[in-house]
């Protein structure tokens, strides 16, 4: 069991000694029970930090923001940024390090183990609360404890945990400077890829019917892309600006620029966008599940990424975010990669 005071003390200490430029963690938001990202720069702010089952966010996203901000301002990093990272978040940081997005010494990883549980799934929780609004959430062993206007409600975590957490076998941040909580690597609450396997058990026709419905719903708000630490491209293929414009660029060149995906939220364009994203995340997605959670229309985006993760594991023996020095999935190969699909 993690003692929140330990996290707060660490943050306070680091900021007081100037060992970190900032501490990125979680604090209580202004709307109900949900935590929100917190950016601390003064030691006295450390007591704002919280650690509970609503700490969904993959905060490595803000390391990416920070790096972009520094590059834009033409500043150098200086002291590292300390960041609170769960198992999946720490793997994201490893991928960013693999890709040399920033250097290891630029980040101080305060690892937090999810131990036997994980984060709550708001949709599952709503089903258990019958309309009541939870005001707070807390870890308690294998349970989550929620407070509502009607009193305290204790639920087994497994019933309201996010699918990705149920399927997660590595809830401990292997890459860390400091870690809190018990290392329960190897735990198994549900089989890995359980949700994916359930979906894949359908025939091709059913799978298409389901995906067609999901793709039709997408409103192209790009929350999935925006919330993803791996979607750090300065220019994304779906943006209206997808090629560099200089003073020498002619109107003709602007007019005939390649438009891979139209802006219209039509099924064909939504498919091309979401599939391109899944390909771009193959071998990089660490299943933090933020795209899936952020989606306002509940497109099961995670399944696409899971499919790539599963193929990578089974066919290429590849684990995303396993080690900083490791290869990238699509920029490496093995002699015995499957090839019997090629005629």
């Amino acid at each position: 069991m993690i003692k929140l005071q330990d996290i707060r003390d660490t943050a306070r200490d680091m900021l007081a000694k100037g060992e970190a430029r900032a501490v990125i963690g979680y604090r209580r938001g202004s709307r109900g029970m949900l935590a929100e990202p917190a950016f601390l720069t003064r030691p006295e702010e450390a007591d704002e930090l919280v650690w509970d089952p609503t700490c969904f966010h993959n905060l490595s996203l803000y390391l990416v923001h920070d790096r972009k901000h520094l590059a834009h301002a033409r500043k150098t990093a200086g002291a590292p940024v300390a960041v609170i990272a769960k198992g999946c978040d720490a793997r994201s940081i490893v991928v960013l390090l693999q890709e040399h997005y920033f250097q290891r010494e630029d980040v101080y990883i305060i690892g937090v183990s999810c131990e036997g549980t994980g984060v709550v799934d708001e949709r599952k929780l709503a089903g258990h609360l019958n309309g009541a609004q939870a005001i707070s959430a807390a870890f308690d062993g294998d349970d989550f404890v929620f407070t509502t206007a009607e009193g305290e409600k204790r639920l087994p975590a497994r019933e309201v945990m996010a699918d990705r957490c149920l399927e997660c076998c590595s809830p401990f941040p292997k890459e860390h400077n400091l870690a809190f909580g018990e290392d329960k690597t190897g735990r198994q609450l549900e089989a890995p890829f359980a949700a994916l396997d359930r979906f894949e058990a359908q025939g091709a026709g059913e799978r298409w019917d389901n995906w067609a419905r999901h793709f039709d719903r997408c409103i192209r708000c790009f929350a999935c892309r925006s919330v993803c630490p791996m979607c750090y491209c300065d220019e994304c293929v779906v943006d209206s600006i997808t090629f560099p414009v200089t003073t020498a660029t002619t109107a003709e060149e602007k007019a005939s620029r390649i438009r891979w995906i139209e802006r219209s939220a039509a099924r064909s364009e939504n498919i091309t966008y979401l599939m391109t994203r899944a390909m771009h995340l193959a071998g990089r997605c660490t299943d933090c599940g933020e795209c899936d959670r952020a989606c306002p229309v509940n497109v099961p985006i995670r399944l696409l990424n899971n499919k790539m993760e599963k193929e990578a594991r089974e066919q290429f023996g590849f684990e995303p975010g396993a080690s900083i020095g490791g290869p990238s999935l699509v920029a490496s190969f093995l002699d015995n990669d499957p090839g019997n699909f090629i005629r």
């Binding site: 091709a204 790539m308 090629i342």
Partner: protein, 144 residues
């Protein structure tokens, strides 16, 4: 499928300039008969093919997409086709996953000397696509 007798599938074929593209030329100069349904797009190496190209071809109305390059070990850039093998495997699986018919995407190794094989690959592919009928899953609606 009598009403589909007249249906001519449109194939976008990404061909490596060092082998399959030359293989298609050889098929031509050897006067081998094969269906004229493929629009060839020559690429410097199969390793240079972004999965985006495959998706985009379907998006713009292709009924089938073919990727063809050098046999393993023969890559002009030594390892481009190894990389392509991984990437194309992944995009193939992803297409299959969302329910696109498996036979709409094909990959083959065709060397510059294999004109007959190239003709066979196209013939087989077009035959399979004829069975499937038009592709409208990934196609832009207004182009239908």
């Amino acid at each position: 499928m009598s009403e589909q007798q007249d249906y001519e599938p449109r194939v976008v074929a990404f061909l490596c300039k060092w082998c399959s593209s030359a293989g298609s030329d050889l098929a031509g100069v050897s006067r081998i008969q094969y269906p004229a349904n493929a629009t060839p797009i020559t690429v410097p190496c199969t390793g240079a093919i972004s999965p985006m190209y495959i998706l985009s071809a379907f998006n713009k109305g292709a009924d089938g997409v073919l990727v063809s390059g050098c046999h393993i070990g023969d890559c002009h850039y030594l390892e481009g086709n190894y990389l392509a093998r991984r990437k194309m495997y992944l995009i193939m699986k992803l297409l299959e996953f969302i329910g696109v018919e498996q036979n709409r995407f094909r990959m083959s190794w065709v060397s510059a000397a294999e004109g007959a094989k190239f003709a066979q690959v196209i013939t087989d592919f077009v035959g399979d696509l004829q069975q499937l009928g038009p592709q409208d899953k990934l196609k832009r609606a207004e182009n239908k």
